[in-house]
């Protein structure tokens, strides 16, 4: 079964706007990772946030983690058409065993129009 549930399932915005995607999970985690997938291709690793971290930045990406609510959010600022893709969150399949396989959320499909 899916560990993470992203919302919204689909998001359409204009270039320059910010996009926020949310992810909820069910069990305790070591890390939570965000990925981007363009048009059914391979996954690109965006960012990993550890369970003892609350916020992490990478370029135009900002990820937050709230372990009390078992949720994370991915914010893309000043979006571009090239950000059009599906975004997935993923956590360790085996709770308390980092570095093992991942279980993925259903993903958010982001469409950025110019």
């Amino acid at each position: 079964s899916q560990q993470g549930e992203e919302d919204p399932q689909a998001l359409s915005i204009q270039e320059g706007e910010n996009a926020t995607m949310n992810c909820s999970y069910k069990t305790s985690i070591n890390n939570l990772q965000w990925y981007r997938q363009n048009s059914g291709r391979g996954l690109v690793h965006l960012i990993l946030i550890r369970s003892n971290e609350r916020e992490k930045h990478s370029g135009r990406l900002r990820v937050t983690l709230d372990t009390s609510k078992k949720s994370s959010s991915l914010l893309i600022t000043a979006s571009r058409a090239a950000d059009t893709a599906s975004y997935f969150c993923a956590t360790d399949v085996r709770a308390n065993q980092a570095g093992t396989a991942l279980i993925f959320g259903k993903g958010t499909t982001l469409s950025v129009s110019s």
Binding site: R41, G42, L43, F88, A101, L102
Partner: protein
């Protein structure tokens, strides 16, 4: 990070046949993982492949249908056997990065269509 390649990148196969997908990593890794992504869906773990031991399969996946080999620390194969149209998916391999960050990296995927 790790650089991962997969072959073939895509294939169209007839039902009842088998396809072997190769995954090559540019560094030695202990564990390799195989995932399936059905059309419009998220990724589902098929199995974990450790070098020198039998692969560990997730619920709903069996060795007879998805035999896996792991002959060394940089290479693995996944075979999709006796294919049916329901096997049409993207198949991806992944590894955990060599540092202690636990970041997991994915190959470009193999897009399989079964007719």
């Amino acid at each position: 990070s790790a650089v991962i390649s997969q072959k073939p990148s895509r294939d169209i196969c007839q039902r009842g046949t088998s396809l072997t997908i190769q995954c090559q990593v540019d560094s030695q890794v202990t564990m390799m993982f195989w995932y399936r992504q059905q059309p419009g869906q998220s990724l589902t773990l098929i199995a974990t492949a450790n070098q020198g031991s039998e692969a560990t399969y997730e619920s709903g996946f069996v060795i007879d249908k998805f035999p896996i080999s792991r002959p060394n620390l940089t290479f693995s194969t996944l075979t999709v056997s006796n294919m049916s149209p329901e096997d049409s998916s993207i198949y991806l391999c992944s590894v955990v990065g060599g540092d202690s960050s636990y970041e997991q990296y994915f190959g470009p995927g193999t897009r399989l269509t079964v007719t």
